[in-house]
């Protein structure tokens, strides 16, 4: 922690000076300056992970990880930890590994397995928190809705670290993960360790989601992860466009949602997600134009194929 504050403080001071120079009353508040930094760190992290979560059809999986935080939180409270974050992270990772293992092992449909784990996490969390002496379930609703004021220097440092590690991992494993998502046999024939790559990705998702629960809220954290990628998928025609559109939607929804939540006096997480839904609706409306292009391209391509021996 000492080295962290040694290097982190000046950086944070610098950021606050920069953010404070932004126009608008909101930018004068320290908590908003920190929140903007959180957006700028979380949006690329979520964009990178979200493209793969949507591509691999893991939206429900990442949703269960958000809910896993409830049990993590409860375990942290019962153990008497000052900050429940470590317990939440640990439980999310354990659940990610368990789910991945059970889905690979059992013949049950993965959404059934996920449903069971989601129920387990919520039920166990609520049961533990509702025991006398923990202040009652209602004192933890902040975790459901999220609280911008919960962002602090330590949380930001953790987020920055998560982003750097994820970028490094993506640099090495993005292709393997994408190929495994396309076809597992094809991936294995090219030396990809499918189970290892997918398990590793599950851990990354667990950590990224959990780190953002406290300020986005566990009800909606998954929506900010999924929606920008889902919107981008409607418009993109290759991987580069897909990642860039996702990043643009994620950043704009994050920053736009944060600033407008200040003026509208609304919950930040909810406002960010409303922006993301707006982008999704926009993409849906623009899709016919993009799709028309696709049909034309497909028609043009059929002609050489119809004439064999060219």
């Amino acid at each position: 922690m000492d080295t962290l504050s040694h290097f982190g403080r000046p950086l944070l001071d610098l950021w606050q000076t920069l953010a404070g120079a932004l126009p608008g009353e909101w930018a004068q508040w320290r908590f908003m300056q920190l929140a903007l930094l959180a957006v700028l760190l979380a949006a690329p992290l979520f964009a990178l992970i979200g493209t793969q979560v949507v591509g691999l059809r893991l939206a429900f999986f990442s949703d269960t990880l958000g809910h896993a935080a409830l049990t993590g939180l409860a375990l942290g409270v019962v153990a008497g930890l000052g900050s429940p974050l470590w317990a939440m992270l640990a439980w999310a990772v354990v659940q990610a590994l368990l789910v991945t293992w059970v889905v690979r092992r059992s013949r049950a449909a993965s959404d059934t397995v996920l449903g069971v784990f989601m129920a387990l996490s919520v039920a166990l969390g609520l049961a533990l928190l509702s025991r006398p002496g923990h202040g009652g379930v209602q004192s933890y609703t902040g975790f459901l809705v999220g609280d911008v004021l919960s962002i602090n220097a330590r949380g930001l440092a953790a987020l920055a670290l998560a982003l750097l590690v994820t970028l490094a991992l993506a640099g090495r494993w993005f292709n393997a993960l994408a190929l495994a998502g396309l076809n597992e046999s094809l991936a294995r024939s090219r030396g990809v360790k499918v189970a290892v790559v997918q398990t590793g990705f599950a851990i990354v998702v667990a950590i990224a989601v959990t780190l953002n629960i406290q300020w986005i809220g566990l009800l909606l954290v998954n929506a900010w992860l999924i929606l920008p990628a889902a919107a981008a998928r409607l418009l993109a025609r290759n991987l580069r466009q897909y990642v860039l559109w996702t990043l643009a939607f994620s950043l704009t929804a994050g920053a736009g949602g944060l600033v407008s939540s200040y003026y509208w006096e609304t919950a930040t997480g909810a406002t960010i997600v409303l922006w993301a839904i707006g982008f999704f609706a926009l993409a849906l409306m623009l899709r016919p134009w993009v799709a028309a292009e696709k049909v034309l391209a497909a028609r043009a391509s059929d002609s050489p194929d119809a004439a064999p021996g060219s």
Binding site: S185, D305, A306
Partner: protein, 260 residues
């Protein structure tokens, strides 16, 4: 698995095929729990030859292919000798899967497919020059050079199979495994696909293994046929194997050899 910058085989060869590189499979067996799926399978694969594997449904054809890929735990031995009679432990295996099941709406172009499958640079940064050159050369081999920038989901069945065939050429394979590659193609796509396969076999001097239900195609393109039903029941030239009464009976074909 780094891409070869050029799609030339690394050792000089003459066509007709040198026939010097061989894959020996000896006594291969696979069991899933108590169930014996394959047993006592022995055969040789020669470069420049197309070996077709035929058999009734559930005969273990795809399992044999997956065993050759190393995806399924199996007993028995597998040796590969290259042109210089060296024995590299693992030959380069190209694989064309059966009817690639994928999300047709996926934002993935043909170039992206080559990027994710043949290079380490994250595909969203675009194609590295060396990967692009290899992709273009491979696509040209299968008459698909014009498809590089197209979305995978927008390809016709025939185009998709040719693209997957091109992908299996990077890096240049010693062994090419095709699992029902022409299933679901229309007549024109089918003819074209097998033309390309026959051409590649000679050009790259590669050993091709073809799993297929399409006996007419097998009779036309294969050099050798392995008839499989848990055990290897017959092996030889297509005209011989496909005419054998025992084989025809198991495949539910009339005894006469009219379709040949």
């Amino acid at each position: 698995m780094l891409p070869s910058p050029e799609l030339k085989i690394s050792v000089p060869h003459s066509s007709p095929p040198c026939g010097a590189c061989l894959t020996h499979v000896r006594n291969l067996g696979v069991r899933f729990g108590p169930q014996i799926v394959l047993e006592g399978i022995s055969f040789d694969l020669r470069c420049g030859e197309i070996t077709a594997i035929v058999g009734p449904n559930g005969a273990g054809k795809t399992t044999l292919l997956r065993a050759l890929l190393g995806e399924v735990r199996h007993t028995g031995e597998q040796h590969f000798h290259d042109h210089f009679n060296r024995r590299p432990d693992r030959p380069v295996v190209g694989y064309v899967p059966q009817q690639l099941a994928f999300d047709r709406g996926a934002p993935l172009s043909v170039a992206d497919l080559f990027a994710v499958a043949t290079g380490h640079r994250p595909a969203f940064f675009g194609l590295a020059a060396v990967t692009r050159a290899a992709a273009q050369a491979a696509l040209a081999e299968v008459d698909a050079a014009h498809l590089l920038q197209r979305r995978l989901g927008a390809l016709s069945g025939g185009e998709l199979q040719r693209v997957l065939l091109a992908l299996s050429l990077v890096p240049t394979p010693d062994l090419l495994l095709l699992d029902e590659p022409a299933q679901g193609l229309d007549a024109a796509g089918l003819v074209r696909f097998y033309e390309v396969v026959a051409r590649l076999r000679a050009r790259f001097d590669v050993a091709v293994v073809l799993v297929s239900h399409d006996l007419a195609a097998v009779a036309r393109v294969a050099d050798r046929v392995l008839f499989l039903d848990r055990k290897l029941l017959a092996a030889g030239p297509p005209a011989e194997v496909l005419a054998a009464p025992a084989v025809r009976e198991r495949l539910g074909l009339p005894a006469l050899t009219k379709i040949l």
